[in-house]
Symmetry: C2
Subunit: 345 residues, 2 copies
């Protein structure tokens, strides 16, 4: 921790005056690599001392203006702040904020909407240098980003457009989760996704992982993946003549609700049915019973996305497609809790 000096409005000129040089010399010392210009070690030291002594910090805005770069990146999402951006201490934010802060980038969070252009104004007013798009890149957003020629990284989404993406490897993850249930002796395992809420590439991928695991276990005939609304699904399950003994739920929000729904009708978890889901976010650990989940590598994804973006900003290519890089993260982790147990009959 440096001394808590008054973080006053010291300017470059003050530093220059104090060290008896011009502002341009100070600027060089502060911004350019030492090799790229010539200056006596003496002067350099004098300048550095003055900077330290005055507690000088560059004015972010003035610098942006002069450089013609805003040093701001926009984080775009549809609707309200996605829960995977942050849960508790973690989430994507935990990954990209430190990286961007480190690189002295400012972040603005931008909710996008089809029927308004507030968000376009915002991107425009702030002259953002680049964007991270979270969870999906819809067409009207893509159109704008392309027009603005903004470097873009898509996080946790897929797109037909030539855009770099950072994603979870969902297939393997879902397969692992399903295999956990299989290893407990379950055979009638359903999968549930509230497709009305979650329209996302990962739905198909997780289903695919579930199906692979089932097929490999010789249970292809048992495969059943429901896309009903929540209440309809509960009704379907409860009244099934062959009720499943386990269910893989696409997302923790529905899993939590499912526990409550089962409780209402007297179905015991895990005795009557095991429940497993994705995303080790609050409150999966604190519900009744604690949920077995897959921890997603959100922080890694976030930090990789930020690094990719910085890279794109530093090395702009005219040919957008060459910068496109697709990362898949597979360092998820199965966390077994009490919502899954051995099949009982």
């Amino acid at each position: 921790m440096t001394t808590l000096t008054t973080p006053n409005q010291v300017t470059l000129a003050d530093v220059a005056a104090k060290s008896g040089v011009s502002t341009s010399s100070v600027s060089k010392v502060l911004n350019l690599p030492a090799e790229s210009y010539r200056m006596s070690d003496q002067t350099r030291q004098r300048i550095l001392d003055a900077v330290a002594e005055l507690g000088y910090r560059p004015n972010f805005r003035a610098r942006s203006l002069a450089k013609g770069k805003s040093h701001t990146i926009g984080v775009l999402f549809e609707g309200s702040l996605p829960t995977n951006l942050r849960d508790g201490e973690h989430g994507l934010m935990g990954g990209f904020e430190p990286v961007l802060r480190q690189a002295e980038y400012q972040i603005i969070y931008v909710p996008v909407r089809r029927d308004s252009d507030d968000w376009i104004q915002l991107l425009s007013d702030r002259r953002v240098d680049a964007c991270m798009v979270v969870n999906q890149l819809v067409d009207y957003v893509w159109d704008v980003l392309e027009q603005l020629k903004l470097p873009t990284v898509l996080i946790n989404g897929v797109s037909d457009h030539a855009v770099s993406t950072c994603n979870v490897e969902n297939v393997g993850m879902a397969k692992t989760l399903t295999e956990h249930l299989l290893s407990l002796g379950h055979q009638r395992i359903w999968m549930y996704t509230n497709i009305h809420v979650h329209k996302h590439y990962s739905v198909a991928e997780r289903e695919s992982g579930y199906m692979q695991a089932m097929s490999e276990a010789g249970l292809a005939k048992q495969i059943k993946s429901s896309h009903l609304e929540f209440d309809a699904f509960v009704a379907e399950l409860v009244h099934a003549e062959q009720r499943p003994t386990a269910v893989v739920v696409y997302q923790h929000l529905e899993a939590v609700r499912l526990l409550q729904a089962f409780w209402r009708v007297g179905i015991k978890v895990p005795e009557d049915i095991s429940v497993a889901t994705f995303n080790n976010a609050y409150p999966v650990e604190h519900v009744i019973p604690p949920l077995t989940t897959m921890r997603l590598p959100n922080e890694q994804i976030g930090s990789q996305a930020a690094r990719t973006l910085l890279e794109m900003i530093d090395h702009p290519t005219t040919d957008a497609t060459t910068t496109q890089d697709i990362s898949r993260f597979d360092d998820w982790e199965l966390i077994v809790r009490e919502s899954t147990g051995p099949v009982t009959k």
Copy 2:
């Protein structure tokens, strides 16, 4: 929705050129009230047309530089993003963001720490115009804000210093919640606060409300407010020779955990014990059983805080204490769910 024109880098000069006037005229039209200068309606209209036609938007940074104000406000908090800032769609953010956005203020979220001065650098680099401090104003933060002479509003906290604050009226809220339990016939009602986690002025206030309600019901002797660690409290309650029939929990996080703890030891909610808490945040509605809570007026608080802050920025007073205004919000709401029920024995 205006037409989606390319939000290009149109400058004031472009507008000036297009409408055949000087940049200062354009600037006047855009920034000053019509009464404060003279200009022919014709020219004004020509300028307005050009602005519209070119889709001109001022460069936020250039404007800040010229005005010497950053048009940025810092939202300060200790540790990680407080949950009351946002839960789901609501929370304090839902209150202040629209107000500040409307006033064209930018928000930066600043985690503060005693043993580092990153955050001071951040405030300093960005030359924030003012601050909102969330949940508590600790001394080392106050010292800095005072030194920087930053207008400040404290949200959901109290302070000895002369600072404007926006708070919940906790006493009445806790009293109402306790009265709900009393009206169900409960007499042995405990209160629980994990004081190791929550060190906050509202702890005492909520306790006070609880005590008032108990006293007025002639149950002063039954008052018991525990400050133990979570597990110790559970143990104390479970093994009490006279177990309470209801418990008021300071915060929803602990209430959720309490439900789980009771489930583990076979205590039924609400048959054996009723649980009531504060903060109608996720997942109180989805746990087993759904929790009775008080909805806090977070959005109102947030928007009031933002308005107060803008006011302070616009009308700076040399005498800080005169600007101090204390608001207490009491439009909370009791939401009764299944975790509270009539006393059974």
